[in-house]
Amino acid sequence: MFRKVLIANRGEIAMRVILACKELGVQTVVVYSEADRLSLPVRMADEAVCIGPAPNSESYLNIPAIISAAEVTNVDAIHPGYGFLAENANFAEICIACGIMFIGPPPKMIKLMGDKALAREVMQQRGLSVLPGTDRINGSKHFERLAEQIGYPVIIKAVAGGGGKGMRVVRDPGELSRSVELAQVEAGKAFVNPAVYVEKYLEHPRHIEFQVIVDRDGNAVHLGERECSIQRRHQKLLEEAPSVAVTAEQRAALGEKVALAVRDLGYESVGTLEFLMDPQGHFYFMEMNTRIQVEHPVTEAVTGIDLVKEQILVAAGESLSFRQQDIEWRGHCIECRINAECPDTFVPSPGTITAFIPPGGPGIRVDTAAFASLKISQYYDSMIAKLIAYGPDRTVAIQRMRRALDTMVVEGVKTTIPLHQKILRHSDFTEGRLSTSFLERINA
């Protein structure tokens, strides 16, 4: 096992990795920007190294500074968390070149899945359905006919995409040409790579994703699905496991396909395959995330498996301690992302947290790095806590989440708590009528 791990991240995920390392008896080093000097991970890690000023480019995205910190603290491995450098193949390669284990998949897997059009292709070859669509479009020729074949509405997506940037829905053939051009400009600005592709646009799909974990010996296990349909601007806000729309048979069948596909590709580490699900119960592969997800705790709750610990163990070359037949799904779990932002407009609300009382009691887990007197910086992500409610069934999980939201106190900044309170009491939610347009619908 690793003796010492550096955590190249901040906030709740840095805390999460510290907790996993402490359970494994592994020493921790966190790197931090000047803005995070008084943060909880800095306080809780065994060592902490300031790597630069607040802006990401000079600290959490500053590869030389992070590698230098890893060298002076003499760590065996780097955990990238999510966001920042977690899906940066170049960073993973540099780690390996410097003799530091990158806790994630091999760099070529990050690269492969970073190309959304290529990922579609390799997964289709391995038996996963994808939505009718084109290969990448560099110019703007021919695709009018392709869009016609696919049938409107279509969606234009960036090959290097993520976070909703470079995405455009086109309902009218007359708007296709202009939309492709705009998407290319956006993609170029956001990801350097301007390439886009066109795909059939589903109107009210569910967002369903499958969690996999693969060890170096090629043991690939899927841990079932998460439903993440409740999103705003393509960013997830509430997730749950299992999905009310997925049957045990569907879970077993698609899960098996998914595990076989990633093993066949030579994938290692944890990963998530995102699908859209249409009302007829068809699943369409969208993309694969090659890191731990924000919403991993809901899977941990229903399977009893500590994903971050397993991710570290697998990176250290350990064989998985379980096989597919050992996995049982039990109960129901919901996660609400508590963001420091206005619940109506989603405008970030930086400031100092004057009071912070996380809820407790049975079935409640809180993953956070927040505390009373912490300053929420405008430099970083607005998520300040993940509220996770588990129960023997979805009804109890909902009851527990409601009372957890009702008894959580955050003062000094605005949060998404009121929005979650609204969602958890909406009949479409309690009855499981979900789709990615849920939030627009209930706010309309």
């Binding site: 020493q27 080093v29 790197v31 000047e34 000097r37 008084l38 800095v42 306080r43 809780m44 065994d46 060592e47 902490a48 190294v49 300031c50 790597i51 630069g52 000023p53 030389p64 500074a65 590698i67 230098s68 910190a69 060298e71 002076v72 603290t73 003499n74 410097c98 505390f371 007197s373």
Partner: protein, 159 residues
Amino acid sequence: MDLSELKELLRTVVENDISEFEYEEAGVRIRIKRDHPAGASGEDSRPITESPFNAGHSLGGDERQSIAKAAAQGTAAGIHTIVSPIVGTFYNGPSPGVDPFVHVGDMVQEGTVLCIVEAMKLMNEVKSDVSGKVIDILVENSQPVEYGQKLYLIQLRKG
């Protein structure tokens, strides 16, 4: 001290995030206390773990805070602090066994090389950005340093 001076003092205390201030001279006594200057303080139930970083002791919360402050504010009047621009390993001279670039007591000019911080096999020279006398060297040779860590104190040349 008149009111405007007192007000200025109070403002200074707040701006610099001081939690307690006491001053006594020739019959004048001033004491200022603030409850929550910024970070948490008091007792910490966490066991202190040893760290090889920063000369064998882990940076506790308070220390980290004070370093941040010092780095941000500089120190007392007339004394300038040179901080590390990057995280890496500190070397006081061009190579091992060779004389250090500067010793305590040396006069340095703006632009004088003071030390090297090695990061990812690259040797980064740290130059003085002021002229004056080296009055303290705050780190040991070949010790790891973090971004913003204080390296040298320079007494500014008067005038």
